[in-house]
């Protein structure tokens, strides 16, 4: 047996490999996700089923109050809550993939350091991870949307098919600042569990997921305003059943989500670069 031949491949010193770096990182992440594909599918199906069944068939029957208003009057509770549930599912993917996966890449498995030695740049490692996670969010969002259709939990605006996209945007608006934070941590001394308990759960409960934000005392409204989940839920409601909102407010929702996502992404790229170089 001899050493491998020098002629099998010729790697040209050009930038092509570098330009596609983020795609290669995403491809790698997908292959890794295949290892827990059943978890992804089961969570993707199980969580919407549980919520839609529990709320649509259970909780809603007990509610007399008119919670959500459409253009032509009140909408069923499950229609009101469905866009928010879909968005929170995407945010929940972010709390997993932009925490433990990042710590694993830098510290536990050190996979990012391996990639770092190739033509791929640190910013592309961050972008590739984001691409893969966004795809997972989109996959979950589409599953969720299909189940929402099965439950008849949309309005008739004709725009409800945009819900998975709003979910991804909400997930990234929450997830990309989290990615920057996770990448800056040298160790997980319980910070990720704290994010889950003290950031995600309160947002899930207090940013207009299950009832309109206005129901809360006005002293608590700020939670909604800073919450990507609230912005995504409200945007989803406008698209799904035409919740009557002023144009400027819809613009604020879109801009807030974009600002958080883009800001978080730029920050994350910087943190990755500083850490790996």
């Amino acid at each position: 047996m001899s050493a491998p031949t020098q002629t099998a491949t010729t790697v040209l010193p050009d930038r092509r490999a570098g330009a596609r770096g983020a795609l290669y990182v995403a491809e790698h992440q997908f292959r890794a996700m295949l290892n827990y594909r059943w978890t992804i599918v089961m969570v993707g199906l199980g969580s919407p089923l549980a919520y839609l069944l529990g709320i649509g068939l259970g909780l809603a029957t007990l509610l007399d109050a008119e919670v959500g208003q459409g253009p032509g009057g009140p909408v069923p509770y499950v229609v009101f809550v469905a866009p928010a549930l879909l968005a929170s599912a995407a945010v929940s993917v972010a709390t997993e993939e932009f925490t433990y996966t990042v710590m694993s890449g830098f510290k536990w498995r050190r996979v990012f350091w391996g990639i770092n030695a190739t033509p791929v740049e640190p910013g592309q490692i961050a972008s590739g991870l984001v691409l893969a996670v966004a795809a997972r969010m989109a996959f979950g969002g589409i599953l969720y949307y299909l189940l929402i259709l099965v439950f008849g939990a949309t309005g008739s605006t004709g725009l409800s098919w945009l819900l998975p996209l709003v979910g991804v945007l909400g997930g990234l608006a929450f997830g990309l600042p989290l990615l920057a934070y996770s990448a800056s941590l040298k160790d997980d001394a319980g910070q990720f569990a704290a994010v889950q308990r003290f950031v995600f759960t309160p947002l899930f409960l207090f940013s207009g997921t299950f009832y309109p934000l206005e129901t809360l005392p006005s002293a608590l409204h700020w939670i909604g305003w800073i919450s990507p989940l609230w912005h995504a839920s409200e945007l989803g409601r406008v698209l799904s059943y035409g919740a009557p909102k002023p144009g400027w407010l819809v613009a604020v929702h879109v801009l807030a989500l974009l600002a958080l996502a883009i800001g978080g992404w730029l920050l994350a790229r910087r943190v990755f670069t500083r850490r790996l170089r």
């Binding site: 047996m1 001899s2 050493a3 491998p4 031949t5 020098q6 099998a8 491949t9 010729t10 790697v11 040209l12 010193p13 050009d14 930038r15 092509r16 490999a17 570098g18 596609r20 770096g21 290669y24 990182v25 491809e27 790698h28 292959r31 890794a32 290892n35 498995r109 050190r110 996979v111 350091w113 391996g114 990639i115 770092n116 030695a117 190739t118 033509p119 791929v120 740049e121 790996l276 170089r277």
Partner: protein
């Protein structure tokens, strides 16, 4: 004359006030097997990171494959193979998939990656473990897989940072054998190590590094010739007596080094030293005559032992 693979002059790396690499000069020629020998913390890994175009230098000049890492990082890295000190294989992927996924980062088509992975698995003697999980491999197998992974892009230079640290003797010899084949084939190797036997096995030429500076440079044989004697006599009289006996050995051999646990007598002829001892009625508990090694060179240059 062909252009050097690496050219460093006054290469410096500082972290705040701490100077990790202190204005070092060296060159690596194509096909050469070049070593950086020194204790932990000498600046070897930092130097490797700068050459590997993943850490910017603070000062001096550095060209790798004729390019400046500051401006041509991706192009340089495209032609390097890097075996890091700590394995960073992806345990979520199978053995073969680790090679394929890694090849993709160099823009190599999937089919080519797959073909090359087979060749490399064979080279790394891992063909039978192709579908195994990385975590089920032994330490030596993981290192071989990491080396195979570093070769996926057919690199012009293979950089190995402490390649055999933590491996048992048998695994080390298998690894050295693999590296030796690459060397024979003409791959340029850059190796850091704190094991003198490894440096002697693998390196045509090496620099001895300590505190971020180059203390000496040459082939293992040249270094030994310049900084040590042909033979060394190791004598143990018991730790409480070593120092006292050493005084009586004044003038014996070329030079005497007193370590806490033993006395080293540097000489061209070890047997003569032993004869002298018995004439003087000095009876060490153990005595050993051996060839001089790089360990002795390091001790001479720094006054310290390589492995504490």
């Amino acid at each position: 004359m062909s252009e050097p693979v690496v050219h460093a002059s006054a290469l410096t790396k500082k972290y705040g006030d701490f100077t990790a690499v202190d204005a070092i000069d060296f060159e690596v020629a194509p096909g050469e097997s070049f070593g950086l020998l020194g204790p932990n913390g000498a600046g070897k890994s930092t130097t490797m990171r700068m050459v590997g175009a993943v850490s910017a230098r603070t000062g001096g000049e550095l060209r790798v494959l004729g390019m400046d890492p500051d401006t041509h990082g991706p192009q340089i890295r495209a032609q390097l193979g890097v075996v890091p000190q700590e394995d960073n294989l992806d345990a979520e992927l199978k053995v073969r998939d680790n090679l394929i996924v890694y090849g993709r980062y160099f823009g190599i088509p999937r089919a080519v990656c797959a073909r090359r992975a087979e060749e490399l698995l064979e080279f790394a003697q891992l063909t039978e473990r192709a579908k195994a999980k990385v975590d089920d491999l032994s330490g030596g197998m993981k290192r071989r897989l990491t080396i195979a992974r570093a070769l996926i892009n057919d690199p012009r230079v293979l950089m190995l940072d402490e390649p055999t640290t933590g491996l048992d003797p048998q695994a080390r010899h298998i690894l050295w054998d693999r590296l030796f084949r690459l060397k024979e084939k003409g791959t340029t190797l850059i190796v850091t190590t704190h094991y003198m036997d490894e440096a002697e096995q693998l390196c045509d030429r090496l620099v001895v590094v300590d505190h971020g500076r180059i203390m000496a440079e040459g082939s293992p044989a040249e270094l030994i010739r310049t900084y040590s004697s042909r033979e060394v006599v190791e004598l143990r009289f018991g730790s409480d007596r070593n120092a006292a006996v050493a005084e009586r050995l004044d003038g014996v051999g070329d030079r005497i080094e007193v370590l806490p646990d033993r006395i080293l007598v540097y000489t061209a002829n070890g047997e003569e030293v032993l004869e002298h001892l018995s004439r003087e009625n000095l009876h060490p508990t153990t005595s050993l005559v051996r060839r001089s090694s790089l360990e002795d060179v390091f001790l001479r240059l720094t006054g310290r032992s390589l492995i504490e």
